[in-house]
């Protein structure tokens, strides 16, 4: 009787969970489905398997430019926000200073601010300053929203690090830079890689800020948006979306793998504490 009741409870929870997953991922699964569908119109029933939309991508020069722009923006964003994130995470994890909570709170705020507000605010500010829009202004906007993620990832890397390790290195005659190079960096390296991968992915996928702040060079999401006006291009967009989806998922899995490795290295429970994904 008790077992039966237990079973029914679990079943309700299961149904809810499955429904939730379908709601969450069904639209995403449609993407590769139509990317390989041999028809211009996005509708069921599917008419046959093709890879021609992928080959069409290969032959679109404007797309290549957008991919190159996005890769450049994402790379620079990843490096800058990881550098800033590492500095802030270290300060937050290991030092005490006045207004620390407030300062860290303000740095983390873009994480919850609606992107459209960030984008419009930045646009207004850049206009006031008389700066022209370019890929660099996109980088600036992306760094603003990526740094909080970087801090969240690296905070756990720093928090898990025994401070006496750095003191021990210093005590053994090493200077501050040598200590950073020989002790600190190797220990937080998995976190750094994880942060680079996640911030790269966020920047690569980001649309609103890129849309508002870019000049004549467009990033990939902005390019995709522009293509949506042409119904015949839709299957190609689906193909492109499929590639982006795959790249993003692979990068996020890699990032999580590195984060867990960092935790294991420091003898912490990899499942517990600090992971944002």
């Amino acid at each position: 009787m008790r077992a039966l009741r237990k079973l029914t409870t679990i079943n309700w929870l299961m149904i809810y969970a499955v429904a939730y997953m379908i709601f969450l991922y069904a639209p995403v699964i449609l993407l590769p489905m139509f990317a390989f569908n041999d028809a211009t119109i996005i509708a069921f029933p599917l008419s046959g398997f093709t890879t021609k939309w992928f080959s069409a991508l290969w032959n679109t020069d404007a797309l290549h430019g957008a991919v190159a722009n996005s890769a450049l923006v994402a790379l620079i964003t990843a490096v800058i926000s990881t550098l800033l994130g590492a500095s802030a995470a270290r300060a937050a994890a290991q030092y005490n200073f006045p207004l620390k909570r407030g300062i860290i709170g303000f740095i983390m705020l873009p994480l919850v601010l609606p992107e459209i507000i960030v984008a419009v605010a930045l646009l207004v500010m850049l206009m006031q300053l008389g700066l022209s829009l370019s890929l660099w202004t996109v980088v600036a906007g992306h760094v603003l929203i990526c740094t909080p993620f970087s801090i969240a990832i690296l905070s756990s890397a720093f928090a898990g690090m025994d401070r006496s390790l750095e003191e021990a290195s210093f005590d053994l005659g090493e200077n501050r830079w040598g200590t950073f190079r020989r002790i600190t960096l190797p220990l937080i390296m998995p976190g750094v890689i994880s942060s680079l991968l996640i911030t790269f992915t966020i920047s690569l996928d980001e649309f609103i800020i890129a849309f508002f702040l870019t000049g004549t060079d467009v990033t990939l999401p902005v390019y995709i948006w522009s293509q949506l006006r042409f119904p015949t291009k839709l299957p190609s967009v689906m193909a492109l979306g499929t590639i982006l989806l795959t790249v993003s998922v692979v990068m996020l899995i890699l990032a999580e793998w590195f984060r867990r490795r960092a935790a294991r290295r420091q003898g912490l429970d990899a499942q517990a504490g600090g992971g944002i994904i």
Partner: protein, 370 residues
Amino acid sequence: MTTTLQTNPKTIIDLTDVVKDFGSFQALKGISATIREGEFFSLLGPSGCGKTTLLRLIAGFDHPTTGAIMIDGKPMEGIPANQRPTNMVFQSYAIFPHLSVADNVGYGLKKKKLSKAEIAAEVDKALSMVDLAGYDSRAAHELSGGQRQRVALARALVMRPKVVLLDEPLSALDKKLREQMQHELRALQQSLGITFILVTHDQEEALIMSDRIAVMFEGKIAQLASPEELYRRPATKRVASFIGVMNFLPASVTAQTNKTLSINIPALGNVDVSRSALPIGFFADDLREIGIRPEMLTVLFDPSDTAQNEVTAEVTSNTYYGDMTYYGVLLPGQTTPVTISMRNTAGRSIAKPGSTVRVGWGAESVVLFK
């Protein structure tokens, strides 16, 4: 060489009125002491007494607010930890988790411009010193607590420091291993002749290992003395209760000469003690209490047992420890019982609560307090 060290020990560390403030909290309130070359010196005190702060000031991780620290005759002001002739064994051991045992031990040697072969030889020597020969290629996480402790020690010793600083190095080990390491550390220190400074809150550990102990309370040194003197002649009631167990009884001076003091202890009777028993800066008129250790009081079981002085008292409790029995005994005119420890011997039964016994004591075992 050894004889000159013993007869005329050189000062290796000189602390002059060292004060350390952390914001409004004063962690050290003026510490002055000299530590001799080649001695095993302990900083003993409860947590928060400033002992670790003092060790970190000597190591160079923190700097005194005021006061001076001299190491090997050189003032240490402005000299960072990486340029001091001291090396630390951390409480957490701070073994570098991404490096092998050999790379951990050889870490500091890489800065010393030694060849790879020289480093390897030094590392091997240090590892065999701590009984870890052959562990070179082990990873940090493959080591037990005791082995980590040894690696941390080897890593400090390989630098040939003038002073080894140990921050509660044994507190994470279990009791058996801790006792073994206490003896090994002491033996190693004696064979190397290097000054060791140990921070500990464990009074037994300090007594076993040290040549001299500084007992610290609230940022001050309460007493600096050899283990024996500390135990036999604690300077204050607080030191006396921190190190071992001490029974306190009200007392007063009834008469005094140049050499002796006549003391009346209502619970035990009258006794004459030598004036030299008075701690420095302590006048006879200040005497309010005396202290006597549990093992200095004897229950006289056999009618033929005698002692210098005797009183009759009532047993209130007994606690059996196997080799020892601890009695609670109510002395005449007292409301709280004193503790008496007796070694158990064959054929002697344990006195029951409520029974009346004779308690013996000697004048030399009496410690005077304000």
